[in-house]
């Protein structure tokens, strides 16, 4: 289960709280299950102890269960945003509030984005109330093409919302990484090979020297799990030739657990990616030659990758410190550009869960984590929104700082008192 990865005493305390969650059932739902069961009409979902304990058209929850009538509306797994900066930056341009990157740090892999996570950050609520319940949060590159380690969390805002504080290593092997490595792709790849050697040679090669070929002692230690295939490595790259280099890396190191972020030219090498079994996290909005690495960008990238059998997840790669919620609009646009409804839903539920190895997430099935959203319409439709959001079986607040600001200013009447007295 998701929770077992965190082992601190604090986590155990809050787990005990969570175990107190009431049993509830959602009735009369149109359920997109994310499994072979497909979509169920008029189904009931029984939630107990944060898990889905029963599901079906004819399934009757135990008597005494609190019932929530979905009135025929869509119910889906909570949305899993596979690549964001949610909760590690409050105001992008204010460095004091921005923990996404650290250009002045001597470290790379050893940087843990989780250390910067604030579950009370306002983007967490803003993201949750749009139906996103799970987030994979990556550090941004600062001084090194190896940005550091990213984490997995839910969007409850609870103190224990991180489920894996070192879920993956994020490396930029595109133009940005080339620049940080010294000015070229060869420099980036030399640095990567050096980093692999440092990590594999840790601690022996640091006996005589304090510095490795490419990594500090702390970074080499931190990189150990990833180079042994025990931790996911997310690589940012777009150009078809760069993607082929990543596939070569995997061929030379078959035990590596790799996924690619970006992949605007992924469709050009889609069959090869499928054969190499390397998943991708793409932004379906990208259809411009934004750089010389993205000349082949097309809104058909998603359709072609999925048709070739590449596990494909969606993310909004714009301002993803604040707008991870736009993954839903991305998916809707992918659906308008040739991707089937089920594949578009999977790209923000089951596929991210598979990429990050989170069992029980992304589906509605007996034993799944009870992350659920009840929608007021088609979940891919731009005009739809959640009616209710559940994380680990608990109903979540649909308030954010934004909804409070809205409510304060919906009526501009100041005849009695200034608006600052209006809550």
């Amino acid at each position: 289960m998701i929770r077992k990865i965190l082992l601190s005493a604090a986590t155990a305390a809050t787990l005990a709280l969570g175990a107190g969650a009431q049993n509830i059932a959602i009735t009369n739902a149109k359920v997109w299950t994310g499994t072979d069961a497909g979509t169920l009409e008029n189904a009931n979902i029984y939630i107990s102890d944060g898990e889905i304990a029963g599901l079906g058209v004819n399934f009757a929850p135990p008597s005494g269960t609190e019932l929530i009538d979905a009135e025929g509306n869509w119910v889906t797994p909570g949305i899993f945003s596979p690549f964001s900066r949610t909760g590690i930056v409050e105001v992008g341009a204010e460095d004091s509030t921005n923990d996404t990157s650290a250009a002045g740090s001597p470290f790379s892999v050893a940087l843990r984005a989780a250390d910067g996570f604030n579950p009370a950050a306002t983007p967490v609520d803003v993201t949750r109330i749009e139906g996103v319940t799970r987030i994979a949060v990556a550090p941004s590159t600062g001084g090194s093409m190896i940005a550091g380690q990213g984490f997995l969390a839910d969007t409850s805002g609870d103190a224990d919302s991180i489920s894996d504080d070192r879920a993956f290593v994020f490396i930029d092997l595109g133009e940005g990484g080339a620049g940080l490595a010294g000015g070229s792709r060869p420099a980036a790849w030399a640095a990567l090979r050096g980093a692999f050697a440092d990590a594999r040679g840790y601690p022996a090669r640091f006996m005589a020297h304090n510095e490795g070929d490419a990594l500090t002692r702390a970074d080499a230690q931190a990189f150990g799990r990833a180079v042994r295939g025990q931790q996911l490595i997310l690589i940012s790259a777009h150009r078809a030739s760069d993607l082929r280099l990543v596939m070569d890396l995997k061929q030379e190191n078959p035990n590596l657990n790799l996924a690619i972020v970006g992949a605007d030219e992924g469709w050009i090498v889609a069959d090869e990616l499928a054969a190499a079994d390397i998943p991708v996290i793409i932004d379906p909005f990208q259809n411009l030659p934004a750089s010389f690495s993205q000349l082949g960008a097309t809104s058909r990238n998603a359709e072609r990758l999925i048709a070739a059998g590449v596990p494909t997840a969606f993310s909004y790669l714009g301002d993803n410190g604040h707008q991870a919620r736009l993954v839903l609009q991305s998916a809707g646009n992918a659906a308008a550009n040739g991707v089937g409804f089920d594949d578009a839903m999977a790209a923000m539920t089951t596929v991210p869960a598979e990429i990050f190895g989170v069992e029980g997430s992304g589906t509605i099935a007996r034993g799944s984590t009870a992350d659920l959203v009840i929608w007021d319409g088609d979940p891919l439709e731009i005009t739809s929104a959640p009616i209710a959001v559940f994380i680990d079986g608990e109903a979540q607040s649909l308030e954010s700082r934004q909804t409070k600001l809205r409510d304060r200013y919906l009526e501009l009447d100041e005849s009695e008192k200034p608006l600052a007295y209006k809550n």
Partner: protein, 470 residues
């Protein structure tokens, strides 16, 4: 409330028409005519060939609040000829069965940097901001536009038929913007919207003080360093412009030697004369209120506040003053002045009776402005603000056209206006709908079903993905 805006725009259009390309006709003592050429880079755009086209049996949004089910729209000679429930096809007209489809005015984006920040965004393409000084009213966006930007045809495929290209927001006065028809052309002049007034880009808040006050790693980098410095900078420039205008007015009345030309002050004088429309980047409510006072101090009008993330806080004051707000549906948080963004900004501005516009400021966002309107519309409805689809379309066409001074020509489906029209595959407030056909002045410039009608820019030739679906 709205009338104020129309009055200003109307007078701007009149003033421009009055000076045409020829200047004011001032004379010197010896009788020689001295002219400031106000239009030295004239539009060479002319509509592309078109046939008469009859769109039959569509859901029609006329862009000024009307919706017709099963309506017909007839385009003749590049103009909207007629909208009615039933129109007989003229001889030779192309008849398109639009049953189940929607027809709207073309989308107008009044905040784009296509061409000045084109794709690919390599360093050599950074032509959108003359950062060299806080007041650069003398620069013109059109001199930085690369007409081969692949962003233009992507926007066309999103139903965008006209757009304003603006300089960036580093400067207090960023320079002149220009309004374009979204057709491929070899030159910028070939895209310029005929007779559209010039605009002036100004900027509030964080950007100018960050770029100049904190700029270049120096401390302090120079003025402005604070919002106080911003306002002082605007006022000093306007004070100079008032003096400059006085000299030219005196020259016009009395003759003598013409005053020395100053290109920066030419632009500001154009604003004071009502010929050039002010578009001001401004996020915070309190700053917009200060700027409205500032404009009255010097006798000009802000036509539109851009980004306007906090317009919902002063929507009543914006309505009284008569400025439009050009807004995103949901961008927020990337800097402090964007921190108070709410999803209902656009409908809250509309509800207060102020002029609301959906803008992009993005080469990605410009491709789906209809979706941005749909998000805002539905979020507003959930907050209890009932606005019809037909009224909401004003955010995408009529209101931006008014803010650019071109509503007499485009921005709604009314007989006699430019036939800038989009045929949508379905309800354009749905994510599943796409622009199927886009007409600019009646000419079919984009057809989703006909790859030969998707423009391939020079840059895209011989590159991966040439001629691909985009």
């Amino acid at each position: 409330m709205m009338k104020k805006l129309f009055f200003v725009l109307g007078s701007a259009a009149l003033a421009l028409a009055g000076c045409g390309g020829g200047g004011g006709g001032e004379t010197t003592d010896n009788g020689d005519k001295y002219e400031i050429d106000r239009n030295p880079f004239p539009s060479t755009y002319s509509p592309y060939p078109s046939t008469s086209t009859l769109l039959k049996d569509a859901t029609v949004l006329d862009g000024i609040g009307g919706q017709i089910e099963g309506g017909d729209v007839l385009l003749v000679d590049g103009k909207i000829s007629q909208i009615a429930e039933e129109i007989d096809a003229p001889d030779g007209a192309t008849v398109i069965n639009a049953r189940g489809k929607w027809v709207t005015p073309g989308i107008i984006d009044n905040h784009s940097h296509l061409g000045v920040y084109p794709s690919p965004s390599v360093s050599a393409h950074g032509d959108g901001n003359e950062i060299s000084a806080p007041v650069t009213a003398e620069v013109w966006a059109e001199h930085g536009i690369w007409p081969q930007d692949p962003g233009f045809p992507r926007a066309l495929a999103g139903g965008v038929t006209s757009m304003q290209i603006l300089p960036g927001s580093a400067n207090l006065f960023g320079g002149r913007g220009v309004t374009l028809k979204n057709v491929p052309a070899r030159t910028v002049q070939g895209m310029k919207f005929p007779d559209a007034p010039y605009t002036l880009k100004m900027a509030c808040g964080e950007n100018p003080k960050r770029v100049y006050g904190y700029g270049g790693g120096r401390f302090p980098g120079g003025a402005p360093y604070s919002r106080m410095g911003n306002v002082a900078g605007y006022r000093m420039a306007w004070a100079k412009a008032v003096e400059y205008k006085r000299k030219w007015d005196k020259f016009a009345d009395e003759g003598g030697d013409p005053p020395a030309r100053d290109l920066e002050l030419d632009t500001l004088m154009g604003v004071l004369n009502g010929e050039i429309l002010v578009h001001m980047h401004c996020y915070r409510a309190d700053e917009m209120a200060q700027i409205m006072d500032l404009s009255e101090e010097f006798g000009y009008k802000v036509t539109s506040f851009h980004h306007a993330v906090e317009s919902y806080k002063i929507a009543d004051k914006l309505a009284d003053y008569g400025a439009c707000s050009a807004m995103w549906a949901d961008w927020w948080g990337f800097k402090m002045e964007a921190y108070d963004g709410v999803r209902e900004n656009i409908p809250m501005v509309h509800q207060a009776g102020a002029c609301a516009i959906v803008h992009s400021d993005s080469d990605i966002g410009i491709q789906r402005l209809n979706q941005e309107a749909a998000k805002a519309l539905s979020d507003g409805r959930r907050a209890g603000i009932e606005i019809s689809n037909a009224d909401a379309w004003q955010w995408l066409s009529a209101n931006p056209a008014k803010s650019l001074g071109v509503f007499d020509q485009t921005g709604s489906l009314e007989a006699g206006k430019d036939a800038d029209v989009v045929l949508w595959s379905g309800d354009p407030f749905s994510v599943y709908s796409q622009a199927e056909k886009v007409f600019v002045d009646g000419a079919l410039m984009y057809d989703r079903g006909n790859p030969a009608l998707t423009p391939v820019m020079d840059f895209e030739l011989g590159q991966p993905g040439e001629g691909d679906l985009k």
